[in-house]
């Protein structure tokens, strides 16, 4: 007698959980193959997305972690189809995980921070940033650490956990940045003329932005000078160069037009102790002389 057996129902072997059919094995192979294909497609898409945003080293590490992680998870999930019980693997994996977790707490923390840094993107390669008091260019964002080249050419490696949990100042986060320049001029100088000269200089400077508009005004009547403040917005790439250029240009222009920046001044009044033997007329004459000398001192300082 010939029995009609469906190929998919054919059981090549049995385990303690029951017989494993060819259908189960086929499902196992198909699901695993499908997950490999899907992981590859997602990896390709992510690789394109990471281009120019994440450093190649870090990007490849993340992609490998994603690719193999997905396959391992799917493999364990479909393992019961082959009749094998993955609970033993979970137990062994769990214990190994606890041991490794304790041993590599910081590394895992840095790694997870690195992944979040890449997702949130508070900084990019090439940005000028200040992180934990370190100011410089971001040269690389790796999976565990971020590399900064300081302005004086030092390479500083900051663990990603520190980068992620500390305040980050991104100097080039916006397209324009403002700088302030402070100048003190003499009380005898014309502040309106100084403001006019400074505004004219700013107007001639291409990188001093028209909008937001620059401002020049008297900020304070100081002890020794009338203090002016100049506020200018500049494209972020030209900010530093323009600041130093205008600082000196304004100083030179003011001087060329007879407007000086005074040194700190003190008016010192000197008077002698009254001589008991002098008559009131002599004392009065002496006081007038002292007042005259103070006035002359003032004139000398102001002219």
């Amino acid at each position: 007698m010939i029995t009609d057996i469906n190929f998919l129902d054919f059981s090549p072997y049995s385990t303690s959980n029951g017989p494993v059919t060819m259908g189960d094995l086929l499902k196992f192979v198909l699901i695993l193959s499908f997950s490999i294909i899907i992981s590859r497609i997602i990896t390709l898409y992510l690789r394109r997305s990471f281009k120019d945003k994440v450093s190649k080293d870090a990007g490849e590490t993340i992609l490998k972690l994603f690719y193999y992680g997905t396959i391992i998870i799917v493999f364990i999930a479909v393992l019961p189809l082959t009749g094998l019980d993955p609970s033993g693997l979970f137990l062994a994996g769990g214990i190994t995980g606890i041991v490794l977790g304790f041993a590599s707490q910081n590394i895992v923390g840095n790694l997870i921070s690195g992944v979040f840094l890449m997702i949130e993107k508070p900084i990019k390669i090439g940005d000028q940033v200040e992180i934990s008091g370190t100011l410089g260019f971001v040269t690389d964002i790796r999976i565990i650490s971020t590399l900064i080249r300081t302005y004086d050419g030092l390479l500083v490696r900051i663990p990603n956990q520190q980068v992620f949990t500390t305040n980050i100042t991104n100097v080039v986060g916006y397209p324009a940045r403002r700088f302030d320049l402070k100048f003190g001029i003499r009380y005898s100088d014309d502040a309106d003329a100084a403001i006019f000269l400074i505004k004219d200089l700013i107007d001639k400077e291409p990188f001093a932005l028209l909008n937001p508009d620059p401002s020049v005004f008297v900020n304070e009547l100081g002890e020794s000078s009338v203090d002016l403040i100049v506020r200018i917005w500049a494209p972020i790439s030209e900010w530093a160069a323009l600041k130093s250029k205008l600082l000196w240009a304004i100083k030179k222009t003011l001087k060329e037009n007879g407007i000086e920046m005074p040194f700190p001044q003190r008016l010192v009044y000197l008077h002698k102790v009254p001589d008991k033997n002098r008559t009131p007329e002599e004392l009065k004459q002496n006081q007038e002389k002292e007042i005259e000398s103070v006035l002359n001192y003032g004139e000398r300082v102001l002219t």
Partner: protein
Amino acid sequence: MYGNYDPPFSIEKEGISISVEELEKRWVYKRTLGTDTVEKLILGDGKHIIISPVEPLNTPKEITPNLLIEFEKTLLLAAGARKKIFLTFPVEIGVFISDKGNKNLQLLDVLTLARKKFTLYGPVSNGIICKHWKSGIYSVSPSPNPLQEGIMELTLRNTTSEWASISKAVFSAYGMKIFYDSDVFMRAHMDILNKNTAETGFELQHISGELKSFHPKNQETRKEAIEIYNRKLDFVPVSLTFDMRLGF
């Protein structure tokens, strides 16, 4: 001044002095404008020098591809209206070196007689740095100095059902088409899409190589200027537009 030159030559106009002279079996390119002097050595024979207007976004430094033209007076455009106006734009002069047949173009120098100033379009947090130019609004084509200013024929279209108040227009250098002859000319459009958004772009009126561009005055044929920005693209731009999402 615009055109092709075979070395040695020397030209002088409007305070600009350009020369290519042979010195000790080498070609020396020299350009003077005011106190600014540029000198370059050219090693190669049988080359042409081409002087052409270029996109006005290269001097004093290439920091943005966007040009903001601020109108001297705010313009009110009726709902659904389509009007043509003329503006001026700054001209930059590009000096190129090439093999015969204008092949293998290489930029030698860019200079300008126009005012150089930058501005921010939009707020500080998400604005865009633009080259700034202030222009009057003309109903007929003006006649500016072609070495300093060009003419832009701008077609304004208000696709909304409300009046549009327009005080500026932003254009991207990518897609910019400049033509020149006795003047420097661009034809652009600005479509008002809603209360805060407009789209600007350039009319590509070329056929191929030498092109026919309608001159409002005497229908003369203009040449196509050499484009610095479009040459950077991997593809030939058919229609590139700029979205003014931060008001106009």
